[in-house]
């Protein structure tokens, strides 16, 4: 005797927040049942394990059906398959978390231009009240569906989003302690977003945000992931291990907004994910700063004058100036090679951050040094490439600030 078929379908789709999270985390149905039992749902309504199992399976199926829609969230606004009507009383609005509300208001106003309300009830069953049921249910789910684990994304960052990488996911899963299912979902999300924005024109972050109805923060993170994947930045080397995803995401943001084609002219039709080739060519001109002996000495003396007495590591700075300057400018000059673009971060660490660290510079020292290093170049009479220099150093400076930690 066995249950062959067991379904429960409501005219209003019932979704349990807790089960949704378990599903997203890639738990199997049985695991989810176990977690729920430990959570004490059984005490409600005198449920038995069978009841819980049946309910969990129903929920999982619902999520799987939703998943198709979640893949192209823009369709969700007018999908007909699920219905979440405003059946809860409006007065309950006080209960919802303020942040989520603001976020959703923002979202909704952009797409529908009218007031909405929603409701977030704990314990589990999740209800959203709005004048427009669908979108809200979707919005909240989306945050979750497209959310990712930083540890996981750190592993795949800069890798090609290909089948090959997907095959390695079980290793990553074992390493990061994220279930394989969840890894796959996150990986597929990256891929999906990548594929969609690849063909879109206009600003990357905005494209992601509109197409996938994501929050600003999440859209920026996705932009970073897409950007890294597209340029195949090396992030996996041992020397880079100390950097978190958020560090890289910040750097990516800097690169996107300053070094891509879109940075100069956002009306341009080119994609936001590729670096500005012209700019990279121009970077070669910076070489003069290290090849011209006079310029180099002049630059050094300007920086040293400005720094003297302001830092404990002045001696080291003075001694290392030429090395460090050569390091930074060589990185710039080589960026025309795709291979060297990939090594951008490792180069930064090897050529600049590590020497400084071994000299025990503090973050403040670093800031001081780079500020003066950048600004002094403006005073050099014979140095004509001020614009390129600023564009380059602006990004490098903020990247190094971000990356200079233990």
């Amino acid at each position: 005797m066995s249950v062959e078929l067991d379904v429960f379908v409501g005219n209003t789709t019932i979704m349990d927040e807790e089960v949704y999270q378990l599903w997203l985390d890639g738990h199997t149905v049985n695991d989810a049942v176990k977690v729920r039992m430990e959570g004490g749902v059984m005490d409600e309504c005198e449920a038995s394990k069978d009841v819980l199992l049946s309910d969990t399976m129903d929920q999982y199926r619902t999520f799987q059906m939703c998943e198709r829609l979640l893949h192209s969230p823009a369709k969700l606004a007018n999908q007909l398959l699920f219905q979440i009507p405003p059946h809860r009383q409006i007065m309950l609005i006080e209960r919802c978390s303020r942040d989520a509300l603001i976020q959703l208001t923002h979202l909704f106003q952009r797409s529908h231009n009218s007031l909405f309300l929603y409701l977030f009830v704990k314990p589990p069953p999740l209800c959203y009240v709005s004048s427009h049921g669908n979108l809200f249910f979707v919005s909240l789910s989306l945050f979750r569906y497209y959310a990712f684990d930083d540890t996981f994304v750190r592993e795949v960052l800069g890798k090609k989003l290909s089948k090959g990488t997907k095959k390695d996911l079980d290793d990553i899963s074992a390493k990061t302690n994220v279930t394989l299912k969840s890894c796959r979902r996150q990986f597929d999300n990256f891929k999906r977003v990548f594929k969609v924005v690849e063909e879109l024109k206009g600003p990357l972050v905005e494209n992601i945000r509109q197409h996938f109805l994501l929050s600003d923060k999440l859209a920026r993170d996705y932009a970073a992931i897409v950007f890294f994947a597209n340029n195949r930045f090396e992030t996996g080397k041992r020397k880079l291990q100390y950097l978190s995803f958020q560090d890289f995401a910040f750097c990516a943001g800097q690169l996107i907004s300053n070094w891509t084609v879109g940075a100069v002219d956002n009306m341009v039709e080119d994609m936001d994910v590729d670096l500005d080739k012209e700019f990279l060519q121009e970077l070669k001109e910076l070489k003069i700063l290290i090849t011209d002996k006079d310029l180099l000495d002049q630059h050094k003396s300007l920086v040293c004058t400005a720094l003297r007495g302001k830092t404990k590591v002045f001696i080291e700075m003075e001694n290392n100036f030429k090395n460090l300057s050569r390091g930074l400018i060589n990185i710039a000059a080589k960026l025309t090679n795709t291979k060297d673009v990939r090594d951008f971060f490792i180069d930064l660490v090897e050529k600049f951050i590590e020497p400084c660290r071994s000299d025990r510079w503090t973050a403040a020292d670093m800031k001081l040094y780079l500020t003066h290093y950048t600004n002094s170049a403006h005073i050099l009479d014979t140095f004509k490439h001020q614009v390129v220099w600023d564009r380059y150093m602006g990004v490098v400076k903020s990247c190094i600030f971000k990356m200079y930690h233990d």
Partner: protein
């Protein structure tokens, strides 16, 4: 050519990718009606095509308009090969054919493919221009309104009820045509969908014609069913109640009931003509030999010769009559002479008897007593305007086992093509056969009703269960006496009500009074004087198929009561099979009835409403499921307890028995508490009128060996013996008692019923969740006993209920209403249970207040009813506010309304104030809900409420803006609510847009990939919901009422990775508006009224 149909294809969206190379689709649309087809241009390379086509015009007969659906096919253009179909949309244009319904169908429809499911959506606009046709020989019946709702629709008034209409049409099932062997599953499914759509249209048209003939303008309680008879064809049949309905202007709509109340009851009694002499003898002849059940089941008198299955004698007659049919079945070699020889004797007697009865009936009708013999005084309605229903006799039911004739299928194989050629000539006779079958059953029902002294059958329904070539036809209803005032003359034979009712019976107990003659009772029943009026006799228990009349006085709450039963049967073919089934049926009915009765007692209740007994046939077993809503009617005597008696003291120790007895007594006590059954005991002693027969507590069942004569007298009547004595004579009996106690009560905060109204709860809040659940169980153990099967089946149903409670726990306090269980045996070892129901939230506090006010003081009732009218008005006209409020303050002292009373001086202000109060009330409700979970939140909420209270109506501006934003906020997808009930809590229906009747087939050849059987069915049901919602929204509606899933046939073949499912759903598309916006003050006022005076739930 009296009609012009116009269709315009606007756009598509979310289309599937049909061209892998470009990841795009070149879509175009074919629009077909009848034999005319139009095409749109191809919209190249787009998944969201904009066609914006011209208006395609079809000039057609209105007959076709009624029969045919508009068929829209979306295709992908392919230059080199055949165009691929993406999917189809069938649009039933019937709602456009009557003036009061929808005027245009316009909206996004899911594009449906029977293999892939929903594939994108298409935006279509459809209009109809209808020219008047006064041809009296016309074949169409445009203009007749159809309602699935089994009561008078909310915004209508019934001026006349004409009576029963029925029709059936037959065709060959495309799935079984020879061509099915060469065409694709898709083509076959589509042929089937289209055919059924056509047949439904035709059926509706034919019924409409009958209604026009009768002079009516609407069909209420329209029930359409399919019989998938396999090889022998496809039957679509429908029954309904023809009425003349008047649309009420929206202002007076809510007062429908008040109109007819309360003067109708006395008037009706005055109308009752004294008995007619010619009528009586028929009954006198019948009654003495009758041994039918006290109230619940009524069967015809039995023959004198004791048949082999005596215990359930009265029932057996019904099924035996089918045996007679079997023996008449032509052509087949297995005659009844050999195998059925033993039973031939009694059968023949029965046959003779049946003929006699029929003759008698015919005689009666010819003598003019029945003005219209062909007409059945049946009503598919289950609830009635107050005063309509005078007395209720009890449940009448009839079943018959038929062999689906194989005339059209003389042999399998090649000859089938011959059959097809011959089909037209065959179909001509076909409906006749089926008609005759139903006619026979209806006659039987009618005679049962008459034996109960009733002239009508209400809550009437028909159903079938088919397995291979055996078919069980069932019909059931409630015998009743109706108020002839509402009837067309001659529709009812009113002669049989007699002069016993000289005094007008009060509305809240009148329907309980026995309609039959006390001295010539149709069966031995135990009568007492009505506990309400003390004037008329009432039975001790009352079983009905209708809803609890709104005016009925009840104590406590109702609850779902189910009897479940499995019976194994040997596999057999043809007649032997049919005989075996008909032999089993009476036993099943008997046991189901016993279970129901015991469970009723166990809950300390005395009446069942909405009784529905389904018997489903499979290859090797029969399943019986009886569902009803138990209730304590205060007019009926209190039920006695259940007593356990050991037959042979040696077997089981007396301690054991007493322990069981104790458990039962405890359960009864717990249930009394649970359902808050506190009948007005005082009234009983206070009036002290004589109760003719004291209730016996301990009369014993005689058991088998004593005397067979007495056995034959045994019937379904427990009442006579106060049959709450359960005898333990073997282990089976112990099992039975245990299983009685298995039924777990619903968890706290939940109630359940299978009727429209939950007895004891009326203050619904707006939470509504309709759901469908399907569970299929595979019995792996081949050597199951009846007992084991029963246990499995019972557990299956109980577990389903438990699942519902768990899933819907966020809605607590709530009630599962209209729980409709359907059982089937799709394959040899499978049991399928399909449930459709609605969960509705209610305001708990109010209910408790109300129950606390019980027992009801009936004297105040009238005053309140008079009040009701102005109360409801006060929302609309502020001018009446002063008057209203003063009245309120007169009636109720409840603190609830005192702020309102204070504000009466300012008309409009009072209105606003009440809005604010409503808000406050809802807030309070919130707190209660919150308090269960987190106390901190509650506090903060409570704080906010109290602050709201302090600043009083000034706050109103803000809250009102919130409110309006909720109801008028724009949305791109209309929210469509669905409910199996005839109403939506918290809203008022302002317009009926037409009937929704949809049939879908879904098939898959990649079952595993779609998530197995559960995944497949889950998405199919979700898709069906989506399509229903889309059609309703396109009609301009926002809700479906009286929704039901008539059919859910699921077949699977996991080895081939295939599955197929057929679903038929129906309901009424409506526009409803929120009551809280319009009538907030009225609802608050009613609350106050309830708190102050206490009503019986009539509001």
């Amino acid at each position: 050519m009296p009609g012009k149909l116009k269709a315009k294809i606007v756009a598509g969206r979310h289309l599937p990718v049909m061209d892998r190379a470009s990841d795009l689709t070149d879509a175009f649309v074919e629009v077909k009606f009848g034999n005319t087809t139009f095409k749109t241009d191809v919209c190249p390379k787009s998944l969201n095509p904009q066609w914006n086509s011209e208006w395609f015009k079809f000039e057609v007969d209105d007959e076709d308009l009624q029969d045919e659906p508009l068929q829209i096919t979306v295709l992908d253009h392919d230059t080199y090969s055949a165009n691929d179909a993406i999917g189809k949309v069938y649009i039933d244009i019937d709602p456009l054919l009557y003036s009061e319904a929808a005027s245009v169908i316009s909206g996004w429809f899911p594009i449906y493919d029977t293999i892939h499911g929903i594939r994108g959506e298409i935006n279509v606009i459809v209009k109809v221009e209808l020219f008047n046709d006064l041809n009296r020989f016309r074949q169409s019946s445009c203009g007749v309104k159809f309602f699935c709702t089994t009561c008078i629709p909310q915004c209508y008034r019934a001026t006349l009820v004409h009576g029963f209409v029925e029709e059936l049409v037959v065709n060959e099932d495309p799935e079984y045509q020879w061509i099915d062997r060469i065409r694709t599953p898709r083509a076959s499914n589509e042929a089937r969908q289209r055919l059924i759509s056509l047949m439904s249209g035709e059926l509706q048209r034919k019924i409409g014609l009958k209604v026009l003939e009768m002079g009516g303008n609407a069909v209420v309680g329209y029930l359409q069913c399919f019989d998938l008879e396999g090889e022998s064809g496809l039957v679509v049949r429908a029954i309904g109640t023809a009425c003349t309905l008047d649309k009420l202007s929206s202002g007076s709509a809510p007062n429908t009931n008040t109109h007819m109340h309360p003067n109708t009851a006395p008037a009706s009694n005055a109308c009752n003509s004294p008995s007619k002499d010619g009528k009586e003898p028929v009954f006198v002849e019948d009654l003495p030999s009758s041994s039918g059940p006290p109230t619940p089941f009524r069967a015809l008198p039995t023959s004198s010769s004791p048949p082999p299955f005596s215990p359930s004698k009265p029932c057996s007659r019904q099924s035996s009559s089918s045996d007679t049919d079997l023996s008449l079945t032509p052509k087949t070699g297995m005659g009844s002479g050999g195998s059925a020889g033993k039973e031939a004797g009694p059968l023949r007697t029965l046959l003779r008897q049946q003929t006699q009865t029929a003759l008698e009936q015919r005689g009666a009708s010819s003598s003019g007593l029945l003005l219209n013999a062909r007409e059945f005084p049946f009503f598919t309605l289950t609830s009635f305007p107050p005063g309509f229903l005078l007395h209720v006799g009890g449940v009448v039911s009839a079943r018959s086992v038929k062999l689906l004739d194989r005339i059209h299928n003389p042999a399998l194989g090649n000859t089938r093509s011959y059959k097809l050629l011959d089909w037209n000539s065959v179909t001509a006779d076909e409906p006749e056969t089926r008609d005759a079958w139903w006619e026979e059953i209806r006659q039987e029902i009618k005679s049962h009703a008459r034996a109960l002294g009733c002239h009508a059958v209400v809550g009437y329904s028909e159903s079938t269960s088919i397995c291979e070539e055996v078919c069980i036809l069932s019909a059931s209803g409630t015998a009743a006496i109706l108020n002839p005032r509402y009837m067309r003359e001659g529709c009812l034979d009113i002669g049989c009500t007699d002069h016993r009712f000289e005094e007008p019976s009060p509305p809240n107990c009148g329907f309980c009074h026995i309609p039959y003659d006390e001295l010539n009772m149709p069966f031995p029943a135990q009568l007492t004087y009505c506990y309400h009026c003390r004037r008329q006799k009432v039975p001790d228990v009352l079983f009905t198929t209708i809803d609890l009349p709104s005016e009925a006085a009840v104590a406590g709450k109702g609850c779902l009561i189910q009897a479940r039963l499995c019976r194994l049967k040997k596999k057999a073919q043809g007649e032997a099979n049919a005989t075996a089934i008909s032999n089993l049926l009476p036993f099943m009915e008997y046991e189901l009835h016993t279970q129901l009765m015991n469970k009723l007692k166990l809950r300390s209740m005395n009446a069942l409403f909405g009784l529905h007994i389904q018997i489903s046939v499979g290859e090797n077993m029969l399943l019986g499921l009886a569902s009803a809503t138990g209730v304590y009617l205060t007019a009926l005597p209190a039920p006695g307890g259940i007593q356990i008696a050991g037959k042979t003291p040696g077997d089981l120790s007396s301690e054991h028995i007493s322990s069981i007895q104790k458990r039962i007594n405890d359960t009864i006590a717990v249930n009394k508490e649970l359902y808050q059954i506190n009948p007005p005991e005082l009234a009983e002693e206070g009036v002290g009128s004589p109760i003719p027969e004291p209730r016996h507590r301990s009369r014993l069942f005689r058991s088998h060996s004593e005397s067979s004569d007495e056995l034959s007298e045994l019937d379904l009547s427990h009442g006579k013996k106060d049959a709450f004595v359960l005898e333990i004579d073997d282990t089976d009996a112990v099992e039975d008692i245990h299983s009685l106690l298995i039924d777990a009560p619903p968890p706290t905060g939940f109630y359940s019923c299978n009727t429209e109204n939950m007895p004891g709860i009326s203050n619904w809040t707006s939470g509504v969740q309709m759901f469908t659940s399907v569970r299929v169980l595979r019995l792996s153990n081949a050597n199951l006993t009846n007992q084991g099967l029963n246990k499995i089946f019972t557990d299956l149903c109980e577990n389903l209920l438990k699942s519902f409670y768990f899933k819907l726990r966020s809605m607590i306090p709530c009630c599962l209403c209209h729980l409709n269980f359907t059982v089937a045996v799709p394959e040899e070892e499978l049991i399928q249970v399909t449930v459709t129901a609605v969960a509705m939230t209610y305001d708990k506090e109010q209910t408790q207040e109300k129950t606390a006010e019980k027992p009801v003081n009936k004297g105040s009732l009238e005053a309140e009813e008079q009040l009701q009218f102005p109360l409801e008005l006060c929302a609309d006209s502020s001018s009446s506010n002063i008057q209203t409020a003063s009245k309120i303050s007169g009636v109720g002292e409840s603190t609830n309304i005192s702020p309102r009373a204070a504000s009466v001086d300012y008309g409009s202000f009072a209105d606003r104030c009440s809005t604010w109060l409503e808000l406050l009330r809802l807030k309070a409700h919130t707190i209660r809900r919150g308090s269960v979970k987190t106390s901190r939140r509650t506090q903060s909420l409570a704080h906010s409420v109290s602050s709201l209270e302090r600043c009083s109506p000034l706050q109103e501006g803000r809250s009102r803006s919130l409110r309006s934003s909720r109801s008028f906020g724009g949305s791109s997808v209309t929210v469509v609510k669905m409910t199996p009930l005839s109403f939506l809590s918290g809203t008022r229906i302002i317009k009926y847009l037409g009937i929704i009747n949809m049939f879908f087939i879904r098939e898959t050849t990649s079952l595993r990939e779609e998530g197995g059987v559960s995944g497949f069915l889950h998405s199919f049901i979700a898709e069906v919901f989506a399509m229903v919602r889309a059609h309703v929204a396109a009609l301009g509606g926002n809700a479906v009422v009286s929704y039901s899933m008539k059919e859910c046939v699921f077949m699977e073949n996991p080895n081939k990775n295939q599955a197929q499912c057929l679903i038929n759903v129906s309901g009424d598309a409506v526009i409803c508006i929120s009551e809280t916006d319009q009538e907030s003050s009225a609802s608050t006022a009613n609350t106050g009224q309830t708190g102050g005076g206490g009503t019986d739930g009539a509001t």
